[in-house]
Amino acid sequence: MDFDLSEEQRMLKESVDRLLEDRYSFEQRKTYTKAPDGWSRELWQQYADLGLLSVPFDSKYGGFGGGPVETMILMEAFGAALVLEPYFATVTLFGGCVRIAGTEAQKDALLPKIGEGKLLGAFAHSERNSRYDLADVQTTAKKDGSDWVLDGEKTVVIHGDCADKLIVSGRISGGQRDKDGIGLFLVDAKAPGVTRKGYPTQDSLRAADITLKGVKVAAGDMLGESGKAFPIIERVAQSAIQALSAEAVGGMQEMLDITVEYLKTRHQFGVPIGSFQALQHRAVDMLVATEQARSMAMFAAMMVDEKDDAERAKAINAVKVHIGKSGRYVGQQSIQLHGGIGMTLEYKVGHYFIRSTMIEILFGDTDHHLAALARAGGLIAPGTTA
């Protein structure tokens, strides 16, 4: 057992922390939200130059060769800075699909470009009715000679507005919610038949609803085997939750720090409000929740590559439950302890609260994962007692 970071991991953490310290003050962030894409292209290139965009990719593809711990380091830093750039969409989701399911040719063609900052991707999977059911796919994928034709609508595709390429899930066979019969397809975002409606999200990121009308896909642009994409989607969602859990912890720590600082400096009744025991205890409960969430983010990093499908799935369920609950508590209390100032978008803490609310929704909310975990029989194996 060893909780320390390796030398390389420490350097990664230092370089991302330094960059964000320099370039991601709350004021600077505000200017990035006003750019045409709602984030900074220039910073994106800097991430690329520092090697951040290839962190989870194998060195064969020009990658850093990092694993879940490296992802945790990055995402925690991004969460603390409320980073707007499409790292999660491009590297975690799109890159994740390619990394997990791509052929050598696909990896060669895509991963180096992502790492160089020259390719933006998005994962066009969710639909209006799918909610948190990863198998719920109505978009159809029909065979046309050796090619495929996609028809349907994808909703709330994170950073789907700026993506160069999309990975689209389509139903090849079976019913709306069958796990069998789903395919994943690489689609050029500007391909004929693709229309995108981009919009901002609550947390100042961007997303798009994407309509696919008779979109042609070459046989070589399928990811994984025909009709067997569900396990890939599940793995990508699990990596996504691992990444989000670290991001959430970065945000929670900031909310805690900002709130504690405020308790020390805000005066009412002639004393710092931090001298009121009711608020002291609340701040301690925020710390407890944050620390427990941090433990779960580490658990996620440990379990996301676990070979046993059932164990991995349960672990990730547990992580999402905790992150959802603790993020909600820390978020709500950070607003409450600030009083009015917590309620305005002019002040930083509310932005963390909003982002943590969105993280709770993404890839399954607390109730969804709690139900899944309970159905699977819980975490502690029956044979655990002596």
């Binding site: 909703t155 709330v156 999200t201 997303a207 917590g342 309620m343």
Partner: protein, 399 residues
């Protein structure tokens, strides 16, 4: 003891319900159902309808336009108002400054303001809080210096909600900096058009520029716009804060949200079944109903006491209403957000502000997140829940 309503009260409920059902303009009701923000004109329109009926300010003394209802009838009125998706009469006018003018205003002030407050010809905002004075309101610093028949006001107010819609502000200002902090405060009515008074909008977490910062730079206020005596403003304000707390529980609003959540959840599919049939969701909703039932009875108990006691003293149970009421209002918006799920992710400010009909996803889900975000303020304003805990621990528990 009999907790049931009398036949007369039940008949009264029917009458009120019928009126709301037939009088609330459909477009206003629609906005309320969708969780959209009302425009100033919506609130004005509705209050004028109520005023025409004589119901704009039921609890004012009858001579100034009140109804003479007892507390039970007023309680029924409010519950039906909320169940009908009808907006409240403007609280600043009707619950806050109006009663103060009724009780402490001069004859001229009463004649000038009260009819206009009822008909919303004048819209008031509240200038109490300051950057350094929130929970500790009595520490406020905005200074007013007497110069002949005017006060000259300098300083800053914060969280002046709806100030941009307002014609007048009721404000607390410091007139005697040397007195004990509660003693040197004066209550002024300030015309928003007075030179030197400027607003800066503040956007709240829902994205709406709901509130403001107000700056006073040599703002001249006629002494005739003072309420009561100089340096006695705190007493009038305390009277008013008591009023603010009496109407906080909003059981009717919570009830209609529970019903809405259940109905809307029937349109959301989870694992191939409607969310409304999902055991965990149903149980969470049912638990809110249990708590609401308890709150409703507590509320009625307070109301019954108000009815029977002449010169009713503020009951510490009002703090129970505020604490539990705010938590339940927040819980109902929280569960609506859970029902909306991913459909709540797009930020649709124009739709929230009812400036467009275009919507991404189900219309009701488009407002779920901003309404949840804003609901966090309910446990902050009007005396935060921590302050309510302090009140109860001192006044009830003697700690």
């Amino acid at each position: 003891m009999d907790l049931r309503y009398t036949p007369a009260e039940t008949a009264f409920r029917e009458e009120v319900r019928e009126f709301f059902r037939t009088s609330l303009p459909a477009d206003i009701r629609r906005k309320q159902e969708l969780g959209q923000r009302l425009a100033k004109q919506d609130i004005v329109t509705w209050q004028r309808i109520l005023n025409k009926k004589g119901w704009a300010a039921p609890m004012w003394p009858v001579e100034y336009g009140g109804t003479g209802w007892d507390a039970v009838r007023y309680f029924i009125f409010r519950e039906e108002l909320h169940l009908a998706y009808a907006p409240d009469p403007l609280g600043f006018n009707v619950n806050l400054v109006g009663p103060v003018i009724c009780a402490f205003g001069t004859r001229e002030q009463k004649e000038f303001f009260l009819p206009k407050l009822l008909n919303l010809d004048i819209w008031f905002c509240q200038g109490f809080s300051e950057p350094g004075s929130g929970s500790d309101l009595a520490s406020l610093k905005t200074r007013a210096v007497r110069e002949g028949d005017h006060y000259v006001v300098n300083g800053q107010k914060l969280w002046t909600s709806n100030g941009h819609n307002a014609d007048w502000m009721f404000a607390l200002v410091r007139t005697d900096p040397n007195a004990k902090k509660q003693r040197g405060i004066t209550y002024l009515l300030i015309d928003m058009r007075t030179p030197g008074l400027k607003l800066r909008p503040i956007v709240t977490l829902d994205g709406d520029p709901h509130t403001n910062e107000s700056f006073f730079d040599d703002v001249r206020v006629p002494v005739t716009n003072r309420i009561g005596e100089e340096n006695k403003g705190w007493d009038y304000a305390k009277f008013l804060l008591g009023n603010e707390r009496a109407g906080v529980a909003r059981v009717g609003t919570c009830k209609r949200r529970v019903l809405a959540a259940r109905a809307l959840a029937a349109t959301v599919m989870v694992d191939g079944k409607p969310l409304s049939e999902n055991a965990r969701f149903r149980e969470k909703l049912a638990l809110i109903e249990v708590e609401l039932q308890a709150l409703e009875i507590t509320n009625m108990m307070v109301v019954d006491k108000m009815k029977k006691q002449v010169g009713y003293q503020q009951d510490p149970r009002a703090s129970v209403l505020k604490i539990k009421g705010s938590e339940l209002q927040q819980a109902t918006l929280e569960i609506l957000l859970e029902a909306a799920g991913p459909s709540a992710i797009p930020r649709q400010l124009d739709f929230l502000l009812a400036q467009t009909d275009d919507v991404i996803g189900p219309d009701w889900a488009a407002t779920a997140a901003p309404n949840y975000f804003f609901s966090r303020a309910i446990s902050i304003f009007g005396g935060s829940n921590e302050i309510q805990h302090n009140i109860v621990s001192k006044a009830v528990l003697g700690l």
